[in-house]
Each structure stands twice: as structure tokens, then as C-alpha cells.
Amino acid sequence: MSVEPMKLFFKEIKEPIETAMIGNYAVAGGVTQTDPDVICAFPITPQTQSVEGLSDVVHQGRLKAAFVNVESELAAISYSTAACAAGARTFTATASQGYLLMSEALPMAVGWRVPLTMMISARAFNAPNLSIWNSWEYVLTDYGWNCMVSENVQETYDAAILSVMISDNSLFPTMFVHDGFIISHSVQKLWLIPDEVVRRLTPKKHRHTITTKHPGVWGGIVTPSFFMEGRKNLDEAKKPVLNIMKKAFEEFGKATGRHYNLIETYNLDNSSRMAFITMGSMCGNIISWMTKNKDIGLIKIRAYRPFPYEELQKIVQEHNIEKLIILEKSDSLNNLLPPFSTSIATALYPLKTLFRCFIVGLGGRDVTRDEFAVAKKKMESVNDMKGQLYTYLGVRETKNKIYEVNR
């Protein structure tokens, strides 16, 4: 073995093991345990160690799989889609520009209903400059993939296994996201699941594949007489997916003792009737800030796609939340709100909950506790939904002064 952190995965894991490693290796390990048949990816920072770890377990003979290095991300997603359609359990991984380059083939994976899984180490896309650090590029496009967002290394390791369960049961491709560098490259504590448990959670099931036994056509042309039916069928097929995710979380919780939900909440019954709403690595920081700021809650979206709008409405209603502070690591130059906030705004529309969007942490900038305080303070004076609904927080005003944050 040449990749040191992967050594744990070379032996049969019989008991839950407590260890520490970076997010990407944790994902490589989790994927190894699900016994993929084909792994195909193209390197892009900060995704690389996940596939490096996997190539190690393949080349050292621990995992029997085809590990294929291809010439671009568009080839990686095409290869993975084809392999998955032909019957292989398939894993791929990307980030940023790679995700954008994949765009042309992302809808086909959904249309063909392939249970493919993809890891994304969220990273900014290039404009006006190159940045290899964290932003939420994955919220830009929505072609119908399932999407799960993880807060820490433990969650992203678990997501590698959960995604296989969700993909196999829903027959839709699933991407699981962790924030680039913040999770992908930081060493954190986690518990590994015994191999036997993973095998039990992710059995290989029979499904329709490209086979000479049942000749058929995949992806031929259709005229205007039939195209809409295909789209409507996909829409119908997507409806049960949130329940499938819930069931996967339940089953996973029973087997491992780690319980997840579509949306997770903290301290919602507080005096201010306000809550932050966000996803990913920021949540941990908010919770630690909340130990000294107890009059505010947090809503963490774990299942981003399909968007669990009914659950969100229920939570907001049950806890009488009046104001929501959306923290988002992406912006929109044209829309009223950036993409994540748009989904939330749509869900909140019938409830008339007040909210503002704060754009934070673009291109890997630290989201500081001062910023949570500023956002909260600003929100306290909001009493309507008029004017611009988003603000950039933590932007440099002059060389030494960060806009609206006291240092």
C-alpha cells in the first residue's frame, strides 16, 4: 500500500473503529467498502485524494474493480454513466470546473436512471479569477441528481455509503458534497463501519441494464410527439425519492447508531424566533458560536436535492419561526437570490416567513463568528421583504478592513 491513511481499509473491518483522517480518504474508504465495479474520474483539486485512495486499493489488490483514468471530466461522467447502465456499481468524483465540464452529460445519467454515485469537493468556479478553494458550485445547476451535503468527515464517510443505498433504491444518480479543503483536506475524527454492515446495507440488486439478453434502445431521438412524456415520467419517478432517502437514513441509523435526517435542527425554540439556515461545514462553526448565543436556532439542510420543502415548511410552522437568516456560499449576478436561497424562498412563500440571504465564504474565505453576529444583528431590524434580499458578508472594504465586521 502506498497511501498511508488507506491502510485501515486493507483488512476486513470487523468492529467499528475510531480513527482520524481527511474527508477525501474517508470517502475513498467508504466507497471501497461498498465494493464498486468501476471507478472512473479525472483529477481536479480538491477532489484528488478520494480517487488516489481508490486507485491504491485497486492496484494493491484489495478491491477488484476497473479503475479507469480518462481524459476529461466529460469523459469521466460519460464512462461512468455507460458502465453503470451496463450493470456496474460505479463511482466518480469531481469539483468546480470539472463539474461544469460534466454538465452536458449530467442530465443523461438522470434520464437513463443509472444508480451512479459521485463525490463533489465543493470548490469555486473560475470568474473573474481562478480559485481552488471552497464555494458551492454544485448549486448552480440542477439536472435531477439526488444531492446530499455533509458537514464533517464523519458525515461525508457515511454519505459515501448512504449514496449507494439511495441511488440503488431510487434509480437516480446521487452526488454527495463536502466543502473543498475545509472537509476534504482536514483531519477529523470518525468511526468506521464494519465491512459486514456495509455489505448488508448495500446489496447489489438486479436492475435493467444494457444487455444482449433484452435488446433495447438507449437514448434514441424522439419527436415532439413523445419528448414531454419522457420528462413527465422522470418527474413522477422523482416524487418518492425523499421518502427513499428517509428510509435509507433510518436503516443506516439502526445499523450504525448515527441518525440523520433530511433536515436537522438545533435550538429552534428560542426567544428570538430566528434561525440560521445553511448547509455543509459552516454548521459546526455556527453551533459552537451558539453555545454563547443561545437566543437563535439553526436549520441544517442535509438532503439538498430533491429539496425537502414540505419538511422545511413543517419545521418553520411548528417552531413558529418568524425570521430566517440564509447563509450561502454562492452568489447570483442576475437573479433576486442565489440558487440555494431561491429554493428556500420558494418553500417559505406560503408561510410569509421573513428572510435575508447573506453571501459568505466565497472562494474559501473563512466564515467567522463575527459574521454570524453581524447577520443576526442585521436580521433583527428586518421587518418586511422589500429591497435587495441579499448582502455580501466578510468582503474586504479596504486592504485592512473587512466590510461591516468588527475586528
Binding site: K64, A83, P215, G216, V217, G220
Partner: protein
């Protein structure tokens, strides 16, 4: 100089061989983006008129050259590769090459001359005549390159000599070159087409001299009366009358049926052959057929082939690994799909080896 010797390759002998290709990549070359309406591509010959490079009064058609797609693949240093050009006007040669490619280890690429009467502006009944003329005048030489452990071996069938008279007749027979003859005879432009063709043929001859097989002339002997009708494609499809791609598909399927029976999967790039063989709920294909994107077919074909092999070595698939043929055309190999074709071709040419590693206990 003594006459070069002929290497007779019998179809029955090919069928009796043990080898098996990972993927056979086919490019039917109709020299423009025909499926979108005759737009210029890297395959378009110099001065041919297209809808995005018309033969105008100031600029007479395409400015540039027709890329040589096949020969460079011989020099990527691959492990095991079968490369060839073909022409459906010489069906025995083409069918022999398809069978030979499918029965060769590693991977294979065949570039096929494919008449397009709509795009080349001539009447449908002239399709075979013009196709035959293309090889006879030296425009479309038929040759084969077998790469083994990095070393290419060149052989040829015919079409290496330029016959200027036939070349002019060939150009004159198509409307896409009409502007070179009327209202004025554009000698310089016509000479340029012939010059570049001749240079390519000279290069080929040099390569045959340097890397030639012992018997440099390949002659495929196919007894067509003993061949079973193909079982891959129904007779009905939406291609134009006289379409070269139609001839290509039929001959390809006949050879592939003899080799693979129905244990075969086809992958098609977006192209005329794609949109006209599977539409709505009607398909012309009797065997599995896949279309993904304009450019990605080569990768898709490789993905399917690899999956079957890995599933077999893991014991998750018990049957015989199917043959895979990738069909492309209409600029999807020359231009948008080149990256995919090149990478998949080179990977599959050595994937046999990776598979051997995986088979080891």
C-alpha cells in the same frame, strides 16, 4: 522491381481465429456535418462547398485541408491496434476488415468512405459509382495498419496511385465542386486538391516501404454467397436513398453477424445513422443500441466493454462478453469527438493487459 506479393486473407480463416477486440470504432466519413445540414468539418476536403463554407465568387469553398485521421494513430505507440480505411464500393474488402478487426486483440478503428448524395450534390443512383471512383482515382486509398507492441505494419489493397483524369471526373461528378469548373475553370484550386491528395499518398507509400508487411497487398477473400444475411438491423430505416452510411451499416452488420451472432452492442454518436435508425418507439435495431451525446460514443462503448469484463472477472456476469461496435460520422470523430476517440482507442488497445492483471489470483 518485382511485383509486390499478395496476402490472401480468407473470411473463414478470420472467423476461426481466437482473438477478440475490446471495441471496434467505425467512422463513416461523409466529409461534413451532414446531420445538421452540410456544415464544414475537419473532414471536408479543400474547396468543397458546404453551407458554412460555400463556393463563393471570392472564396471558393473550404479554405484548409482534409485531416488525415487514420495514419497518426499508428504512431501513438499502442500495444495492439488494427487501423484501416474502407469503402463500401469494395464490400469484400470492407467486410473482411470488419471481421479482421473484431477478431484482433486490442482495439480497432476503421475509417469508411461514405457517400452523401444530399451533401455532395449528386443524384442518388451515382452513389456507388462515385464511391468506386474515389478509390480508383487515388482520393481514397484502401490500406491497413496493424500495430503490435508499438510497431506499425502497413499494407494496402488499392488506390495509392493518382489518376488525374479519373480525379477530374470524380470532382466533376459532384455539385459540391461545381464552382471549380463553372463559370471558370479554377485550375489552381483543382491542382491544390490533387496536390494534397498526392502528398498524402506519397507519405503512405513511404510508410509502406519503411513499415510494410512482407506481403504488402492485403486481399480479403469473402464468398458472399455463403454469408448469412445480417441479423442486427431491420431493412427499414430513415436514411436517404443512396446514402453511403446505409451501405456501411448493412455491410458492417453482415460481417459482424458472421463474427458475433447477436452477442453484440452498438453505440452510436449523434449522426445521420443515429437519428434515422431509432426514432420514437420504432427502432431498426434488433440488438442493443445506445446513443449518449454527439461526441461521447467512443467512451460509452469502452465503458460498456470494460464493465462486462470486470463483471465477468468478479463472477457477476456468466455469459460471453459481448462485442462492442461504436459507429460515428458527421464530424463527430474528426472534430468534437476526437478527444474521446483518441483516448478510448488508445486505452482499449492495452486494456487486454489490465484485464489479465485482474484475472490473476
Amino acid at each position: 522491381m518485382s511485383k509486390p506479393e499478395r496476402n490472401v486473407i480468407k473470411f473463414e480463416d478470420i472467423l476461426a481465429r481466437d482473438g477478440k477486440s475490446n471495441v471496434l470504432f467505425l467512422n463513416y466519413d461523409n466529409e461534413a456535418f451532414m446531420n445538421t445540414g452540410i456544415q464544414e468539418s475537419g473532414a471536408t476536403p479543400p474547396h468543397a462547398s458546404t453551407t458554412t463554407g460555400p463556393g463563393g465568387e471570392k472564396i471558393p469553398g473550404k479554405v484548409g485541408v482534409k485531416q488525415d485521421l487514420v495514419t497518426p494513430f499508428a504512431f501513438y505507440g499502442t500495444k495492439s491496434l488494427f487501423l484501416a480505411t474502407a469503402n463500401p464500393a469494395y464490400p469484400a474488402d470492407f467486410m473482411g476488415k470488419v471481421a479482421d478487426a473484431l477478431k484482433s486483440n486490442g482495439s480497432a478503428f476503421i475509417q469508411i468512405y461514405s457517400d452523401c448524395m444530399r451533401g455532395w450534390r449528386h443524384s442518388a443512383e451515382d452513389a456507388v459509382k462515385i464511391s468506386k471512383l474515389a478509390t480508383d482515382c487515388g482520393y481514397w486509398p484502401l490500406y491497413t495498419i496493424r500495430v503490435k507492441d508499438g510497431i506499425p505494419t502497413f499494407s494496402y489493397y488499392r488506390g495509392l496511385e493518382i489518376n488525374k483524369e479519373k480525379f477530374i471526373e470524380f470532382l466533376k461528378s459532384m455539385g459540391r465542386f461545381r464552382h471549380l469548373f463553372k463559370p471558370q475553370f479554377l485550375e489552381k484550386e483543382i491542382d491544390e486538391i490533387i496536390y494534397y491528395t498526392e502528398q498524402r499518398n506519397l507519405k503512405l507509400k513511404g510508410l509502406i516501404e519503411q513499415f510494410g508487411a512482407e506481403k504488402p497487398i492485403d486481399f480479403y477473400q469473402v464468398n458472399r454467397r455463403t454469408l448469412e444475411p445480417q441479423t442486427h438491423l431491420h431493412p427499414g430505416h430513415g436514411l436517404c436513398p443512396g446514402c453511403g452510411a446505409g451501405m456501411v451499416l448493412n455491410q458492417m452488420a453482415t460481417a459482424a453477424t458472421a463474427v458475433a451472432g447477436n452477442n453484440i452492442i452498438y453505440v452510436n454518436n449523434t449522426s445521420c445513422s443515429e437519428v434515422s435508425t431509432a426514432k420514437d418507439f420504432v427502432t431498426s435495431w434488433k440488438v442493443p443500441w445506445v446513443h449518449h451525446l454527439f461526441e461521447s460514443g467512443a467512451t460509452i462503448a469502452e465503458g460498456i466493454s470494460t464493465t462486462y469484463k470486470i463483471l465477468k472477472s468478479k463472477g457477476l456476469f456468466n455469459g460471453e462478453v459481448p462485442y462492442v461496435i461504436h459507429i460515428a460520422g458527421d464530424g463527430s470523430t474528426y472534430d468534437i469527438g476526437f478527444q474521446f476517440l483518441k483516448a478510448a482507442l488508445i486505452r482499449t488497445s492495452s486494456f487486454v493487459e489490465m484485464n489479465e492483471y485482474l484475472q490473476q489470483k
